[in-house]
């Protein structure tokens, strides 16, 4: 279960952050991700950032998948 999408954190004030979704914005709660930084992509579930999205890991996976042998 559990829908969550990666979005970019555009501002932060204490546990209150804002994320940008295209041209629209929404408040996001950072209680569970107090160390998130503006500019990070965070995974948002039910209005809360629950994890940072690691760019390096994402790139490495795509790299790995493009060399999968079959």
């Amino acid at each position: 279960m559990c829908l969550a999408i990666p979005v970019k954190l555009t501002s932060k004030e204490g546990i209150k952050g804002r994320v940008k979704i295209g041209s629209t914005e929404r408040e996001v709660n950072l209680t569970l991700m107090p160390d998130a930084r503006v500019g990070d992509y965070v995974l948002v579930h039910a209005g809360f950032a629950i994890s940072k999205v690691e760019e390096k890991e994402a790139e490495e996976l795509l790299e790995l998948l493009s060399t999968v042998s079959y």
Binding site: C2, L3, I5, I21, G22, T24, E25, R26, G47
Partner: protein
């Protein structure tokens, strides 16, 4: 059949169809109504007329890209436009809730006027009723419209055959997302703009190719997927859509991912699905691209022989899946 009316009876999906088939048609049935097209077509002194009616209930009354006034004119004009009819007159019936600020009413009425003027029609009759507080969400509007079907246009589902291409004149799902994200409990700022707009002018621009357009529908309630399902019902053909060719605005996609809803089932208020001859699809597309409301037009699918009565989607990863008719309204969800 359920014993009482639920909201889902009004969403354009399976229950709406049941309602029409089981309750309304047996009561009203006549040859002009029977085709269940967006407008009824009838002839007086060898002139073909189109006649349509629609009621508008929307919360909130004002949303990004429009309001109930603009919507009530656009929707009715578009129901005429998809029959190929040039709209000439509309009516405007207002059901107003006690307590509505006069300034709100003025704003909405002037939006009705402005949209009608833009679309080249006059509001020639109207009605006003006021109901007790709590009996309406601020305001409901009913509009009816009359149009003239010019010669040279011959639109009918019967003309649709395997190989025909399906074109949509721009991004899909924006209207519903605009309305949904405007609701305060979802907490979105500055939302996606609704696509709400009258489209006859765009249809008129396609005049050189009217003969090559076989059928048109506006994917309002039920969305692209819902309306295409209605179209293929009991037909000897199916429809295949290409996910990668369906235009979406990024924020519409994102909000839909976030709220767990499928934009293909969301209402559009400024879109037409054109069924066109394959040989002329590119030319028609080019003309649409020159119109401000058709810049992002795209050929999104075609009529196929396989799986009659079904709508298929070829997904972004090349697999196929059924796009069934919507059953319940989509609710924002988290899991």
């Amino acid at each position: 059949m359920r014993k009482v009316i639920s909201l889902a009876h009004g969403n354009g999906g399976k229950l709406t169809q049941e309602l029409i088939k089981d309750i309304l048609l047996p009561c009203f049935n006549n040859p002009l109504l029977a085709p269940l097209t967006d407008s009824a077509i009838f002839e007086v002194n060898r002139t073909k007329f189109a006649f349509t009616t629609d009621s508008y209930v929307i919360k909130p009354l004002f949303f990004s890209g429009g309001d109930i006034g603009k919507l009530s004119v656009s929707g009715t004009i578009n129901d005429l436009a998809v029959m190929g009819a040039k709209p000439i007159f509309i009516s405007c019936g207002l059901i107003i809730e006690e307590g509505l600020p006069l300034s709100t009413l003025k704003k909405i009425v002037s939006s009705v006027e402005k949209t009608a003027r833009y679309a080249g029609v006059s509001v020639i009759t109207g009605d006003t009723k006021v109901v007790e507080k709590g009996s309406a969400d601020g305001m409901f509007i009913n509009t009816s419209g009359i149009g003239i079907v010019p010669s040279g246009i011959n639109l009918s589902l019967e003309r649709v055959e395997v190989g025909d291409r399906i074109i949509v004149n721009g991004t899909v799902g924006d209207h519903s997302v605009a309305v949904l994200s405007e609701r305060e409990e979802l907490g979105f700022s500055e939302s996606v703009s609704s696509d709400c707009a009258p489209l006859y002018e765009m249809v008129e621009k396609l005049k050189p190719y009217w003969g090559n357009i076989k059928f048109m529908r506006d994917p309002t309630r039920g969305g692209v997927a819902g309306v295409l399902n209605e179209i293929v019902q009991n037909q000897s053909f199916g429809i295949k859509l290409q996910e990668r060719n369906i235009p979406f605005r990024e924020e519409t996609t994102a909000l839909c991912e976030l709220l767990g809803i499928d934009p293909l089932y969301l209402a559009n208020e400024g879109k037409i699905l054109f069924f066109v001859e394959p040989e002329k699809a590119e030319q028609i597309l080019q003309i649409l691209h020159t119109h401000p409301l058709g810049k992002k037009s795209s050929i999104i699918g075609e009529v196929v022989a396989r799986s009659p009565g079904k709508v298929y989607l070829e997904t972004s990863i090349g697999t196929k899946r059924v796009l069934d008719m919507l059953i319940e309204d989509q609710l924002p969800r988290i899991c």
